[in-house]
Symmetry: C2
Subunit: 416 residues, 2 copies
């Protein structure tokens, strides 16, 4: 099936808001095995909406429209679609009653312009909105289908899978194709390096497609297996996933949607371990990420951001001569920071960073992007040096990622 996407709104055309719905819808259509032929964005204009809609329908089976369903005068999508096909509007009494109920529940004053959101073109099937007041609709046009849903991304993201796709499946019955999907999140390899490592995997032989999604500093892979038989899709996915996992091994930190922070939170909680951090170049970012998970107070005890040398000496008991001899950015200092914060906080683990985020402060021996990460557990202290070459913010981000990845590997290698 061929699909067109039409996103509607003046805010898109003046560049105030970037359209994120099109790429979301495209991803979902591809998951269904459907082809997105053309995406279009237009302003809230009767004539333009009608013209573009007729054009898109000339080479697609269905057009999915988003936006312009609000109660205010500038939102005209429903009326424009009705006019495009010469249809009158009708009031859906159920939706009208629902709207009035919402207004009553939240003590809002009902004004008649709100009844607009209960109007639909004759012949349309209403698609309920579980998270807002703007219902959508599906309008059959000859053997084709025009579908309209709100443009607020959170509403689009609920109504597309729950409302639009089921109606499309019903209107365009086809040999059912089952899909199985898995996300693998990696850190430590460039997109090109991931690509190269996977060159020998025969994705096609298993009917599996692979998508790369770089989310700095991570690279996410999405594997999608398609088959007429659900079990087969699952089996094929499993086989390819194993091959990919074998090749990317330790670079994978998450199989599924969990973030790096969440996988660490799960391991620390399950193993009943506590942690404290001592940060220099990352400036609090490691602690910020560790505390992004609800319940982090169970494992996260404290963080020390020892930015000045004086803070490193007074807070973490780093001997002055270590800093003078090796520098604040050195393996020796990093190790003592991790050991010091662990001891001070009385935690199982201590994690530390020291480096040069840039753009100033680099030397020939230690250029901008030089970072030492250390992890202490009382028995031993691991330390690694990294060399990055990004701007300040990204050097901080990738350094915090390297620290969390070191922690993740440490936790995985521990016996449960």
């Amino acid at each position: 099936m061929r699909v067109g996407i039409l996103t509607i709104g003046n805010e898109l055309m003046n560049g105030r808001v970037a359209d994120t719905n099109s790429s979301f819808i495209a991803r979902e259509m591809n998951l269904q095995g459907w082809t997105v032929e053309t995406m279009m964005s237009v302003s809230d204009d009767f004539e333009i909406i009608a013209n573009r809609l007729h054009y898109l329908l000339s080479f697609t089976d269905a057009v999915i429209c988003t936006g312009g369903l609000g109660p205010t005068a500038d939102d005209i999508t429903t009326a424009a679609v009705a006019r495009a096909f010469g249809l009158p509007l009708f009031t859906d009494e159920k939706i009208l009653a629902y709207l009035k109920e919402i207004f009553a529940r939240f003590n809002l004053t009902w004004t008649d312009n709100n009844a607009k959101q209960a109007l639909f073109p004759r012949g349309a099937e209403v698609i309920p909105n579980p998270v807002g007041t703007a219902a959508g609709f599906a309008l059959p046009v000859k053997e084709k289908l025009v579908m309209v849903i709100p443009g607020v991304p959170s509403e689009t993201q609920r109504m597309l899978p729950e409302g639009v796709i089921p109606v499309l499946r019903r209107h365009f019955p086809q040999p059912v194709q089952h899909t199985a999907k898995q996300t693998l999140k990696t850190f430590g390899l460039s997109e090109a390096a991931v690509d190269q490592k996977l060159a020998s995997v025969n994705f096609n032989a298993f009917g599996v497609s692979v998508g790369f999604y770089p989310v700095f500093p991570e690279n996410h892979l999405v594997l999608i297996a398609r088959s007429d038989i659900q079990e087969q899709a699952q089996k094929n996915l499993q086989k390819v996933q194993e091959e990919v996992a074998a090749r990317l091994a330790d670079f994978i930190f998450s199989v599924g949607e969990q973030t790096l922070e969440e996988t660490i939170a799960a391991e620390l909680t399950q193993k009943r371990l506590t942690i404290a951090v001592a940060e220099s170049c990352t400036g609090g970012l490691i602690a910020d990420r560790l505390t992004d998970v609800s319940g982090s107070s169970v494992y996260f005890e404290r963080g020390l951001i020892a930015y000045s040398n004086e803070a490193k000496i007074s807070m973490l008991d780093i001997p002055v001569d270590i800093i003078e001899k090796h520098g604040a950015v050195s393996e020796e200092t990093a190790r003592l920071m991790a050991e010091g914060v662990r001891r001070l906080a009385g935690t199982n683990l201590g994690l530390a960073s020291t480096g040069i985020a840039g753009p100033a402060g680099g030397t020939k021996e230690k250029p901008v992007g030089t970072v030492y990460i250390a992890l202490a557990d009382g028995a031993q202290t691991i330390c690694r040096r990294y060399a990055y070459r990004w701007d300040r913010r990204r050097n901080k981000l990738i350094s915090s990622e390297a620290a969390l990845m070191m922690l993740r590997h440490y936790l995985q290698e521990m016996p449960s």
Copy 2:
């Protein structure tokens, strides 16, 4: 002038990459006073590119295309545009020599497929690429213009203002319209509240348009004045800017592009003040933001993330009975945290946060989103309670913003 935008690439159509070029181009076109009629995205397909291009040209004066200019076989935009208008391709010798020079300079092996990037449709004017190998071109089609530039956002963002807009201005001479632009960044008001406060400003009378850009938790306003005379545009902008500033007053933290962190860095540096932070619910985010500015080691001394009560007691000398009597999330604790970290670090200022980021941990008296922010300078300590109602990450973000805003106001009120 009416403009169409055509972004080309399979990665857009399967949803792997969201198109950010269209909204960038739309913003720039609006700044020029031109209207974007329709935006479209299509796959790397000869027939589809040709059809959509002809369609767009049927109701616009110029079409700006991005994407599909790479050296690999899947990139076909140049050939597709040539074929759409029945034109042969020619090799631009200057570009060919430039490409070979680049390859030699970086010790890359020249293969003949790279010569593809020196091919252009007959009649096209080459648009040089200052940041990559893919040059663009402008092709006159009768009285209209088709412009093609690369789709890599960093290249699009350079070549649009430097290459595309000057050619468009030359091809479509028009009464020169001057623009003057200013960004005002605010925090503390919803978009609706900003809108209401500005309801009495007569933007139209001064030929000024206003754009709202919510960037959580901030709201940015962009004022654009247009006039035939440069000086007049500047004067009108100034007048409207004053009216807006009078109405939004203290909610504005930046006039221009500076971030909140950057405005604070400038004030602290200029006033030769140092700061230390003590964080609980923000988990390191305040320190992370303060250290995002290069040179922050001049004013930022240390940060303490006192997540556990034990850490608050042992690191910051908060008396146990204060925490027992008032709670870790209380005005008393926040004040002592700010005063404690200031004393410990020996800095001029101490900034502290304590609250409940959620989703767990709320009580009836102190629901999720309750946050206390305190700022101590040795002579006095300010403390304020805030009530937010977002998810965990956004509660952390908005709390860090409230803390930085309190610091910003304090610094502004100080005599220089």
